[in-house]
């Protein structure tokens, strides 16, 4: 954690040109930190850990925006030795592994296996797949790796949903009270700004982000679910709070079909909610999150929102 070379490589020229002359006079801000915080889960009855990322200069500012990041199915684990798997993807990967100075305190908990341990992507995963923070960040994985054989084309609306809004029982909804406590604790102990708590997640974490946002619309300043849709029955509280939404999808995602995204978004609009964004990367599959979190726009959008 000693490197100060955090300038985005692609903009090195421009950033250097602009910032030359002012860097030397300022006191050096604190380095980014990755902390582990322990808690007892009501749901599992055991002690689990989650990560809290503290951005560069954390000590020098009184209040910080917060991102609660919910990972996808493949990064589940015991919240102890397995916790590092949550570094594989998402904003925490960008901040910690890619060493981007994202100005948020990030909370990254881990979802227990809940009996899914026999699924191939758990059985076959090894710790070697966990990316390491290194002086020079690694290349991002290929966002195009899914099998994208079908042509690009606009997807129609789906059949009506055959399940309810609260039926993702192996998903993040089971840790709902735990997530609330994490946010509260982060606000209390890590200078989190209660008016700027943003929630995002990918795949199973996208479902979780929708669910949590609907249940706690009063706590959240913006929600950005990625390759995970929400149930239309979640619309009311989100629309009522006019909670800004940015949904992302991969147009060729074989795991979470794009067409499932439309019903909730349309329901939100029909309820008068006018801050609903929906961006489809038509060329991508399930790994669309690499582009989304690897960019800057989703973070800038979050930073533009503060709860009244």
């Amino acid at each position: 954690m000693t490197t100060r070379r955090e300038v985005l490589p692609l903009l090195a020229g421009a950033v250097g040109a602009v910032s030359v002359g002012c860097t030397s006079t300022q006191p050096s801000p604190t380095e980014p930190e990755l902390r582990r915080v322990s808690y007892t889960s009501q749901h599992t009855g055991t002690e689990l850990d989650y990560f809290v990322y503290l951005p560069r200069g954390h000590a020098t500012r009184a209040s910080w925006p917060v991102i609660l990041y919910l990972h996808g199915d493949g990064d589940r684990g015991d919240g102890k030795a397995d916790l590092d798997f949550v570094l594989c993807h998402g904003p925490i990967y960008e901040a910690w592994i890619q060493r981007r100075d994202l100005p948020f305190v990030m909370i990254a908990p881990q979802l227990p296996l809940f009996g899914l341990g026999e699924a191939p992507f758990f059985k076959n995963r090894t710790r070697n797949s966990i990316p390491q923070r290194a002086a020079t960040p690694p290349e991002r994985p290929d966002e195009n790796t899914a099998q994208l054989k079908q042509p690009m084309q606009g997807a129609p609306l789906p059949e009506p949903f055959k399940f309810g809004a609260d039926e993702d029982r192996q998903g993040w909804q089971s840790l709902e009270t735990e997530l609330v406590s994490m946010i509260d604790q982060t606000i209390a102990e890590f200078r989190g700004d209660p008016r700027r708590v943003h929630i995002t997640g990918l795949s199973r974490g996208g479902f979780g982000a929708w669910h949590f946002a609907a249940r706690h619309a009063d706590k959240v300043a913006a929600v950005a679910p990625v390759v995970g849709f929400g149930h239309p029955d979640l619309a009311d509280p989100i629309a009522k709070a006019k909670l800004p939404v940015w949904q992302f999808a991969g147009g060729r995602d074989p795991s979470v079909p794009l067409r499932q995204m439309y019903p909730l978004l349309n329901r939100l609009e029909s309820l008068g909610h006018d801050q609903v964004r929906f961006t489809v990367h038509e060329d991508l599959g399930h790994f669309a999150w690499i582009r989304v979190y690897g960019g800057q726009d989703v973070y800038d959008w979050m930073l533009a929102h503060t709860k009244a």
Binding site: L8, L10, L11, G13, A14, A17, V18, V20, N144, P151, M152, Q153, G154, A155, P156, L157, G251, L258, R259, Y262, L265, N266, E269, S270, D274, V276, R277, F278, T279, V280, H281, E282, D283, G295, Q296, D297, D300
Partner: protein, 309 residues
Amino acid sequence: MTTRREVFPFIAGAAGLAAGATAAAADAKTSDPELRRVSYRSARTAKERDYFVYLPRGFAQQKSWPVMLFLHGNGERGDGKGELDYVLAHGPLYEAWVQKRDLPFVIISPQLPMFGMGEVDYIKNRTPAQIPRRQDDGVPVRPDERLVRSSEAMQGKGIETKLPDDARGPVDGWFEIEDELIAMVDRTLKDFKGDPKRVYLTGLSYGGFGAWYLASKYATRFAALAPVVGYGHPEHAPAIARARLPVWCFVGGRDPVVQAKFFYPVMNELEKHGATDVRLTNHEDLGHFTWVRVYGGKDLYDWFLRNSR
């Protein structure tokens, strides 16, 4: 082709200040952004016309710069003289000059002649008062990205392979002055320290069609192509794929003017020809003004800068 500097008519204060300051203090400190007018003789119209060249902050301090050629939409046409300022209304030049963002590109912003379009209502009824100004202090609010949007529910629009136009795109488009556009790029490389390996091509609506067309004709001249709310023709695909030109195309899912269903054929054709760096991003919630989000963000510019020939 003679080049000369003119004070920018509508924002004389800001432009004059920048010009004076740079001349005096160019060596001492980082140069301020500048908006230059460059004159040229248009073969197509047989008249002298001007185009804008934006020089980014610190231009004088760096030897070589990425170049962006921006092609505007139908509503910003004009005579390339008194009407040139209309091209400041939208796009990357609007972001750099009016929104005062330090985009690290030399931006070329030409104007498409009126040709037969003078009677189109939004051109006929436009006034210079609509042209956004670079303010002394602060920046104006961006236009609403939700403008020109159909009220229908969001859903995929399917694919339509029968396109309304041939490979040149809609009538009276940028293809009419393709030679002049390439000459502008060449001149900018020479006169404004442009890096020939980093010339990026983008445009919106009519300019999106123009960007596709120009890229297909001069694919090896460009390092990346980003057409916004303008689709390509399958005939563009072989040349672009052969040149391995990275493409990022943007569309608004509720655009009633340039509809999403027409965007897919060229993208699929590119992949058929082996292109691997092909992106199509659909902002399903937006209409024709999708460009406000695209150019107002940062991801597109960062993507440009990652690509070089």
